[in-house]
Point group: C2
Chain length 681, copies 2
């Protein structure tokens, strides 16, 4: 009976979890204050917007985009012409302009009041208006009488000033149109920093006019020109998003040495071909700093943001250890080790940045007693370093727990709060140094095709964590609102839902992908670094990324819904016929799927590896249906049968083709439940 | 038994229809000569291209796009670097350059020879190479051992020199990114003319620097700048596509009079607001021709193509009749009627065009004995006018039968051959004057969201009709290859398959669209001009286009597959269990769908109108299942039951919400079949 008690507890949690905020508005991130009213404001073809108070081109472009997005969302051809400010559907009032270069901590607040005769959006500056317009768009619903927004009063401002997304374009180049639609997505969930990881060992992605061999030798021709970057930064600025560039130093920078080998600590030569050598800058030579000075001078002009990220992570020191001159330098300067040498390097770097009016940022490895307190520390190795940095007087932000490439479910990211763990016990002043967080999209396994699906919708859960009050933390409500947001994000051109279909056609080589999709919907890529760790040879960043693992979603909605239905069924004492029906339909589809999929698996080399996974799914379908039959008949399943099934489940738990079958755990629950007597409803 | 005989005949036709070309290659349009071989050439990550002979930037860009498309299609990161010409996977050889401005009738031929060690593509000029590269892309398949192309020798050239697609951007503006992806689609099926219908009564879409009120008063701010047009024309040229602009004169041009009312035959004022007056140019005043001269001078520079389309269709003459000065002019010049006046206008227009080195084109209404033979006539009113024009010595092309806005099935367009009907009996010289045809995408019901789904994949059937030898005409093979092509077109960014999903979310206002989609998959928009004709008030081009009819596909694949399964089942003497299973699954899904869909229909104002349609579908599901039961039991269905069901079917045939339920006809067949005894297998 213990099993049933556990199941029952799980159900209780689940039913708590799906509780929505009382007002039931599908907003994400949840505003800091929502006062629902009665009634609604129609959004019909006469919808109009008027602006009073301050206005500038940024604001006007923002309103223009809003009307265009509302048109797309509703399928109405709304007029762009500004309305008479006496009777607009939406009146926008702004007090003053935003900063020319958006500043950290700039006021982003807004107030949105909707009543049955009109709506009013006010904000100190266009920055708040942009956020308020996104809230308005999320409020627009299809009702029985037309499109409408509900009567409501919203007062809103962010909890953290730094709400970022890192995109790594070093390992795999991501074209600007893909990045731009992701900026649109960020704006939709009120994120305000794009952290642009612009190069790594595998590729240098920025045009330097001063040092052209950087992009010429350091990339395969895939890089952004300076004109493109200026346009991109302006595009982000229009959406209330700062662009913080990252230039990795002294490590993670092999692509830099392809053109300028003299900067490295080892002899070279260096290339960006797969399997290239590990390499680090030589911090002992004046030449290195001269290069950095000139390079930063050029980049500082290109990227207007106050902050400049210098990386600083994962310097393993092998090249430094192997270079006698560097070791002699360490000795001569009274340093204890490579860490001290990196701190020395960082101090000199910080001075150069300061000269070019930039505030230095680095990963948590940069933390060192010699580091000036102006430096911003980004924690990736754990929450402890965040607390330590804040305690030592540094501004800091959290990325540990927000790595999108680790393929965690949204709920797991959502549960990570910057002010928790070690940070929870900081004093208020120390806590105030924690300025926010950043989701990270590292691109080892990323292509322009799959990147949207790795970022969205999960990134929205992190965006909410960083914007909304800390009390907003119910995963059930989060998933409900995330589901709603997810299809709305499609209006922006994001392909996180649709890209899998094209990829499945490629995998199958044919139009009929029904059976393949059935399998794809219940698997997830292996988690954490399991894929990298399972490689038998060195990681090859030029290798094809066209397997099923490259396209299936990081989190299976279908597996989650199956778990929910199963909870409902078990929780009802096996009497919930609707839930049982859904479970049976899915189980039967899985049972029959291998027979349908098998011919396809043989035809396509990309699908061969899926055969064991497909067999497992069918086996699970059969086992689940039998367990249901036992429960229907109120006959306990034989222990030997259960043992056999549980062994099969054990086998099905093993990753195959770098994929996990996500319905194993709930099926285990079902099979175990079939042993017991009916639970009281 | 008569019914069964008919069914049997239908089956016979169907089985003939699905016969594929013997080589089974999924090419579209089918090349003029295909000699299949044995074996295949692998396409792996070492794939490389080399160029010998003539080369220029157009060719290099074409090859660059080819490699990028192949990368996208395969999910491999192929290198752009040209290969050593001694051992490339694909060797390209070109004899000479293409014309700077692509000319009608320019050699588009190519030869593609693939054997197991490599492929060679040769062509007189880059134009043929572009076509050959598209053929290569279509040949790439996913096999058991990897991506590969089959060993084959293809010699190919077009049947007609003019293979066009008209896109009307006057009624509803279409942004350039949408047009560009459609150019990509056209290039994929070897179409070579974009006929750009640049204005109509409802909007003027080109920037004129000379007459800026054209776009300022004549549009709602949605038009193309001259820089954008130059970029677009270059984009098309890179893909072997000519851009022929159409400037409607003297009718269909109200938007022109919004800024320049003095050109019209009536007093005005004129606006582009819905419900504006009918208006025609005044061909009696010198001022009109002065304007036209200056306007054409400007546009002739912007559009480098030799041809210039002046519209000339549907001049109803009301304004001319109502204007005494115009009637006096007709009388004074010895003209008989308005037609003579239009001919006079066209003659003067032709002289102006000739002065600016342009060849005049017009719709078939321009045909008049006074018209110079250099004018090209485009037939839209019927095939007779095509033959007449050719007979009278004019070059002519066919659009009658190729109107995509009429929502015909692909097979119906496919059956229309330019050299058929009246044209079939022309002599060879006359026939040679028929230079091709054009699919037409008129935009009364078109938005940037749904345009791809109205053009694709059906446009590919027309492209094949215009490219391939006339013997290629089997609709079964066409549909097989069209299905394959359709998902491949998604790689180009076309949204003809995915856009419906977003639209269904809008209609439902929620994430759960399964039941709505089930209905959407079996309906089609009403055909021909039925939607326009059913309007109770004047057509309002600013009205929302967000109903189900605006998003469902012009041709239901599911209804076609259902018909095919039913044919197979009936043809087998009701013994084909696989076919019966498929039919039963679909019928059961339809039967149960109304109950699932009903709550949604009530929640959304956009779905209310679908209630009767949804009920019909469920009723049909029930009837079909009962008919199957009778057939399974070999018991003839009672006549009274059949009569009742056929009455229901009759009701279900009536369009509802401007939609047709496409499974009525096959169900009627099934119900009628249930009367008879089993047919011998």
């Amino acid at each position: 009976m213990r099993i049933l008690l556990i199941a029952s507890a799980a159900l209780l949690l689940a039913s708590l979890a799906v509780a929505q905020p009382q007002h039931g508005l599908n907003l994400m991130p949840m505003p800091s204050s929502v006062q629902p009213g009665v009634g609604q404001l129609p959004v019909d073809r006469s919808f109009s917007v008027a602006i009073t108070g301050f206005r500038d081109a940024t604001l006007e472009r923002g309103v223009h985009r809003f009307v265009a997005e509302l048109s797309r969302q509703t399928g109405m051809f709304l007029k762009q012409k500004p309305a008479d400010s006496a009777h607009p559907a939406l009146l926008i009032h702004t007090v003053h302009g935003s900063e020319r270069v958006q500043r950290l901590g700039e006021d982003e607040s807004y107030e949105l009041v909707i009543n049955e005769s009109g709506a009013k959006l006010t904000a100190p500056s266009p920055l708040g208006i942009l956020h308020g317009l996104q809230t308005f768009l999320q409020l627009v619903g299809t009702t029985a009488n037309g499109f409408a927004v509900p009567v409501v009063t919203i007062k809103d401002q962010p909890r953290f000033a730094w709400r970022g997304l890192l995109i790594d374009v070093g390992r795999h180049f991501i074209p600007l149109d893909v990045l731009k639609r992701n900026l649109d997505g960020m704006a939709a969930v009120k994120m305000n920093v794009l952290h642009w990881h612009l190069y790594d060992n595998e590729g240098f992605r920025v045009e330097s006019k001063r040092f052209p061999k950087l992009q010429e030798a350091g990339s395969d021709g895939l890089y952004y020109t300076q004109d493109e970057i200026r346009d991109f930064v302006a595009y982000a600025h229009d959406r209330g998003i700062r662009v913080v560039p990252e230039f990795e130093m002294p490590g993670h920078s092999r692509s830099l040495f392809a053109g300028y080998p003299e900067l490295a600590s080892g002899p070279g030569p260096y290339t960006v071909e797969p399997g290239g050598a590990d390499a680090v800058m030589d911090p002992t030579r004046g030449k290195t700093y001269k290069f950095i000075d000139k390079f930063i001078e050029e980049m500082a002009k290109l990227f207007p943001d106050d902050y400049f990220h210098i990386g600083g992570d994962e310097v393993n020191g092998h090249q430094w250890d192997a270079n006698p001159k560097i070791q002699a330098f360490i000795h001569a300067h009274g340093m204890k080790n490579n860490q001290d040498l990196q701190a020395y390097f960082n101090q000199r770097l910080q001075k150069i940045l300061s000269k070019h009016h930039k505030i230095m940022m680095g990963w948590d490895e940069v933390l060192h007693p010699d580091l000036p307190k102006t430096v911003v520390v980004q924690s990736w190795r754990g929450q402890q370093s965040l607390a330590t940095a804040a305690q030592q007087g540094y501004s800091s932000l959290l990325s540990f727990g927000y790595y999108l490439d680790l393929m965690w479910p949204a709920s797991r990211h959502y549960a990570v709060d910057p002010i928790s763990g070690a940070a929870a016990s900081l004093n208020p002043e120390e806590k105030s140094r924690i300025i926010g967080g950043e989701a990270c999209m590292w691109s080892e396994w990323i292509t322009p095709e799959n990147i949207d699906s790795r970022i969205w919708p999960r990134n929205a859960a992190i965006a909410e964590r960083l914007w909304s009050p800390p009390e907003v933390q119910d995963p059930g409500s989060m998933y409900t609102r995330l589901g709603e947001l997810s299809w709305r994000l499609e209006w922006l051109g994001l392909t996180h839902r649709s890209s899998m279909i094209s990829a499945l056609h490629r995998l199958a080589g044919t139009d009929d992908i029904i059976a393949l999709r059935t399998l794809a919907e219940v698997v997830e890529p292996v988690k954490d670094y399991a894929r990298m760790n399972s490689l038998k040879t060195a990681w090859d960043f030029r290798g094809p990324l066209n397997r099923l693992v490259d396209t299936v979603r990081p989190e299976s909605d279908q597996a989650r819904h199956f778990r929910d239905s199963l909870q409902a069924y078990i929780g009802s004492g096996y009497t919930d016929r609707a839930a049982e029906g859904e479970i049976r339909t899915l189980l039967a589809a899985w049972r029959d799927n291998d027979a349908r999929l098998h011919p396809l698996l043989e035809q396509s080399f990309l699908l061969h590896e899926l055969a064991p996974l497909s067999e497992d799914l069918s086996t699970l379908g059969v086992a689940g249906l039998l367990a249901l039959d036992y429960l229907d008949k109120s006959a306990p399943s034989p222990e030997s049968w259960r043992a056999q099934q549980l062994a099969l489940l054990e086998r099905a738990k093993t990753p195959k083709a770098d994929l996990l079958l996500m319905v194993v755990a709930p099926l285990q629950q079902l099979i175990e439940a079939s042993a017991g007597q009916k639970q009281k409803p």
